[in-house]
């Protein structure tokens, strides 16, 4: 039982997609951030086929974004929880959410608010060191063999 791979080891985007690029994986992570932990709850929340859910969870656990934790010994039951690696995926979900709210708007949509101000969030990506916004114009890529290009 393989999963497809984009296999361009030099590209960090391709490597990320190797782990989360399959159908459902990102929505499973979204649910995990919402607090969903159990097999049947994921299944009902997503409407995913049970065998697919089983595979995706396995993959996410193998990749280290989720971990299983027993919450009952008798009967033996466990739940799926985000690891640090999984929690660190949050910015991807937020930028996806923001893009969806900006460009694929619907009348009724979930909106992220600042916990402080209760105002809708306006997420911006900046560089921690310089404070500069990160845009195609402010970034150069450095590829394995030295140099730099846009």
């Amino acid at each position: 039982m393989q999963h497809r791979s984009f296999a361009d080891a030099r590209c960090p985007i391709a490597r990320s997609l190797d782990v989360v690029g399959e159908w459902w994986s990102i929505l499973i992570l979204r649910d995990a951030f919402r607090g969903v932990r159990r097999f049947d709850d994921f299944q009902e929340s997503l409407g995913i086929a049970r065998n697919m859910l089983s595979r995706r969870l396995k993959r996410l656990v193998d990749a280290g974004l989720l971990e299983t934790r027993p919450y009952s010994a008798r009967p033996p039951r466990h739940e799926y929880r985000l690891t640090d690696k999984g929690r660190d995926f949050y910015p991807v979900l937020m930028t996806l959410m923001d893009w969806g709210n900006r460009w694929a708007r619907r009348r009724h949509s979930a909106v992220p608010l600042s916990r402080l101000t209760r105002e809708p969030l306006d997420p911006v990506l900046i560089d921690r060191a310089t404070g500069q916004p990160i845009t195609p114009a402010t970034v150069v890529m450095r590829y394995p063999g030295s140099g730099a290009a846009s």
Copy 2:
């Protein structure tokens, strides 16, 4: 010729994935940001099957992230270019890239640098209004029916 849909219209993440969640779509956008514009160049760069590339490009054009532009009338030829909607997808690619570089590291990997300092970027998501970092702890979601939850 349908494409699958997650169909949860209230979730902006699901709506985004409706457009870019299929295999290859995100890597096509990545290549577009790198400057790739022509069918055969995408095909060679990605190693994608030509009929799949054709479908994905069509979908991305229909969804408004790419547009076709003739660059020669005789012979009739066109290229694919990012629209504003497509360019606005950049933060998703950057957060994916950052996650990949942090958690799926390889010896030789492309790394984004600040154009100013030529130092590796350390992308952080902040709220434009408050300047606060955006993390699960600083966000509450507002769902269509009023209230708020984590």
